[in-house]
């Protein structure tokens, strides 16, 4: 076990899989010689060569298309989008091709491509370096969608994603690349780097965390909190702040969703709050609410609330007001807990 930041854990996952399988390569803008603007591919070019840590032109659609062709020809490309906000030029290749290929060809062709994309706000990136578009991808049948919340999970999930024969969209919450984050009024005696956090202890070798399994981070009796990525930590802090005895579930994989774990918890608590950074309307939170209310209707003692980013672009100057804050989460938890 070594202390790793999420960046290092991702790098280690890439290194492990590249070392084991010559068909694995990483590709994207600035990922080769330089090692990526967030440093996730650092050293891979030097270790595995220019063709396996492949710098590409700035053409997201071309990158994913090339990765699909490579995947069809037996490789396992791991594509880096420099920011999740720049995934849209590739979305036709992702939705119409990558997600559909196996089905439309009756199982003849498929492309085991992973698309990694740093997502989410909190780094003063303004509206084009802060988006959380995961909800869109969960609406696309044929894609798996993953978002880890800590280094240990990031490595284990990324290895699973690379070894999976289905395409995976892998969102990396960039706000917590280098340390956990608990909301605007940070810390409060909590870990500031991953080295101080238990989930920053990461095995150096190969291991994997299965896709589709959620993680119950905190047991509780009053409310079930569903979240993923950066917001898991904010939720954790908010739960303590609220005094509500909440059960916190880190979804880890959004699709396929671990509905069993969720239902089990909500049947116990009878209340549910859903938290994400993405804009509210038609975000993945809507799907969670819809599923939970359908599955657990007869157990619910309170309306399921969503605490999310507002339905506006992510504003440079008002990051903290945009982000679901302790206050907003605590309020929702207390409102839920008050219902009976």
């Amino acid at each position: 076990m070594t202390a790793m930041s999420m960046v290092q854990a991702i790098n280690s996952a890439l290194d492990c899989t590249m070392g084991r399988d010559p068909n694995v390569l990483v590709m994207g803008q600035d990922v080769g010689y330089f090692g990526g603007v967030f440093r996730c591919t650092e050293g891979l070019y030097q270790k595995y060569g220019a063709h396996r840590a492949l710098d590409t032109p700035i053409a997201e659609g071309g990158i994913v298309a090339a990765a699909i062709g490579m995947g069809v020809n037996g490789l396992r490309p791991v594509v880096e989008m420099q920011f999740a906000d720049y995934i849209y030029p590739a979305i036709d290749q992702i939705i119409s091709e990558l997600a559909r290929l196996r089905h439309r060809s009756g199982g003849e062709f498929w492309a085991p491509v992973v698309v990694r994309a740093p997502s989410g706000g909190g780094i003063r990136g303004g509206q084009t370096h802060s988006q959380s578009p995961e909800g869109i991808f969960t609406h696309v049948c044929g894609l798996k969608t993953v978002m880890p919340s800590n280094p240990y999970d990031a490595k284990g999930l990324l290895i699973s994603a690379i070894e999976d024969d289905d395409p995976v969209i892998f969102f990396e919450p960039k706000r917590i690349y280098n340390g956990p984050f608990y909301g605007h009024n940070a810390g409060g005696g909590r870990a500031r780097t991953w080295a101080e956090h238990p989930a920053g202890e990461v095995p150096e070798g190969h291991y994997s965390i299965p896709l589709g399994k959620a993680n119950v981070l905190r047991q509780g009796t009053e409310v079930t909190v569903l979240s993923y990525g950066t917001m898991v930590h904010v939720a954790e802090a908010a739960i303590e702040h609220s005094g509500v005895d909440a059960e916190l579930i880190d979804l880890r994989t959004l699709l396929p969703l671990d509905i069993e774990t969720i239902v089990e918890s909500v049947e116990k608590t009878g209340r549910c709050v859903v938290i994400h950074e993405a804009t509210r309307t038609s975000g993945f939170g809507a799907e969670l609410v819809a599923e939970v209310q359908e599955e657990c209707f007869w157990h619910l003692k309170a309306p399921i609330e969503r605490v999310t980013g507002w339905d506006t672009p992510y504003p440079h100057a008002f990051e903290w007001e945009y982000f679901p804050s302790h206050e907003r989460i605590s309020d929702a938890l207390r409102r839920a807990a008050a219902c009976d």
Partner: protein, 419 residues
């Protein structure tokens, strides 16, 4: 301010916007006379390691081998045995017989949709013959000829088109969107041009693995406008991918003339801007298409990277069974097309060589029609679109993912419970 266009409209602006013209609209005479068609045999064949800029004459000209008398002339005349030539002719006739049958079956309601390649048969047939079996094909819906050369059973193609129990695509795709892994024929997408840049990735993987297989991709004149074509050319040139990038310029994209994509020059010229050796070829000249494809494939295999080829041809029929070309082009256009019919031209060449006759031709056409009719019977014996048998309905939940995840399994159960 008024502005009269086509003698009718009134608007508040005197527009200065340039709008490209069509080769003809209904009631007009086509402007094909103005096409500059170089004589057969007039262009040189450069070395395999030609520099891209040295292909400018080939990109702006047109490689042609068969002259008006059906002789093979000039530096591009390929070495093809009479046997090979006859095989090519046979494939083209076979494709045409198949197209005609399937079109009629669509009109009778047995298929939901169909697309012919009439007049363009030389493109796919000659190109497939010029490639190796291990080369991967990324076609559009108008290269059915590739399947004929690679030996796909017609019954299987028909089963796909009627979505019956014998359909290798399990009833999921519209007719003509074939896929045939065994023949290295990539699954055709409904989304235009997406396969073009994927082909480049496939070729990059081939080079990555140190293999010799190349990829070949096709796109229509209209589809060159899609961003995927730009991505394909950029990546192919950047990584010198072993890929053959073809543009089938059949002059029309549904109702839209090629002038809305060609920017007033040849499509081949676009390749020069990406520093890719580029050629335009007479797409109705079986020998020229074969020769250019051989040359491009040899370049790719020798490590010289991509070649960009415009195949100049004409879409003789409507875009598809849903189309009515009389609504947007003069009905005499096909007849006015100056490059003739690819089947007639290859036939004339073989007859000239003393390797073929009118009688043989008529007999072969009849034989192939009969064989297609027989295939059709065998196909519908495996099920029809309306009455089945089809794949089981629950099979639609398969192949969304490699394994059916829980939420899909639950949906599948609901369907199974009903059926």
């Amino acid at each position: 301010m008024t502005n009269s266009v086509d003698g009718a409209a009134v608007s508040a602006y005197a527009s200065k916007l340039h709008i490209p013209r069509a080769s003809s609209r209904p009631g007009e005479t086509s402007d094909f006379q103005s096409l500059a068609i170089p004589p057969a045999g007039s262009l040189r064949q450069p070395p395999l390691d030609v520099s891209p800029q040295d292909t400018a004459d080939l990109a702006h000209g047109m490689v042609r081998v068969l002259d008006d008398e059906g002789r093979a002339v000039g530096a591009w005349a390929p070495e093809l045995t009479p046997r090979q030539l006859r095989a090519g002719l046979r494939h083209m006739l076979h494709v045409r017989a198949y197209d005609e049958r399937m079109f009629r079956m669509q009109r009778q309601g047995k298929l939901s949709f169909y697309m012919k390649c009439t007049g363009e048969e030389a493109v796919a047939v000659a190109q497939a013959m010029a490639l190796e079996d291990g080369d991967m094909l990324f076609p559009t819906y108008r290269q059915q000829g590739l399947l004929f050369v690679r030996g796909r059973p017609l019954v299987d193609m028909m089963c796909h088109c009627i979505s019956n129990a014998g359909d290798n695509l399990k009833g999921r795709q519209m007719p003509v969107f074939y896929s045939w892994k065994q023949g290295n024929f990539f699954s055709i997408s409904g989304n235009l041009a997406t396969q073009y840049s994927q082909a480049v990735g496939w070729a990059m993987a081939s080079a990555y693995k140190g293999e010799d297989h190349i990829a070949a991709a096709w796109v229509g004149d209209g589809s060159t406008a899609e961003a995927d074509v730009h991505n394909a050319m950029l990546f192919a040139a950047t990584y010198r991918a072993p890929v053959l990038l073809n543009v089938v310029n059949n002059q029309w994209a549904i109702s839209t003339p090629q002038s809305f994509a060609s920017t007033g020059t040849t499509f081949a010229a676009r390749g020069l801007g990406f520093n890719i050796p580029s050629l335009r070829v007479d797409g109705n000249d079986f020998l020229a298409v074969y020769a250019v494809t051989r040359w491009a494939a040899a370049r790719a295999r020798a490590g010289h990277g991509p070649t960009f080829v415009e195949l100049f041809t004409y879409r003789v029929e409507g875009h598809s069974t849903s189309d009515n070309p009389a609504g947007y082009r003069s009905s005499d256009e096909a007849a006015a097309w100056p490059l003739g019919d690819p089947i007639e031209r290859l036939k004339q060449h073989l007859v000239n060589l003393g390797e073929w006759s009118d009688e043989q031709h008529t007999a072969l056409a009849a034989e192939l029609q009969a064989s297609v009719a027989g295939d059709w019977k065998r196909a519908i014996a495996l099920g029809t679109l309306e009455d089945g048998p089809h794949w089981p309905v629950e099979s639609m939940f398969e192949d969304v993912f490699k394994e059916i995840p829980e939420h899909l399994r639950r949906q599948q159960e609901k369907v199974r419970a009903k059926s």
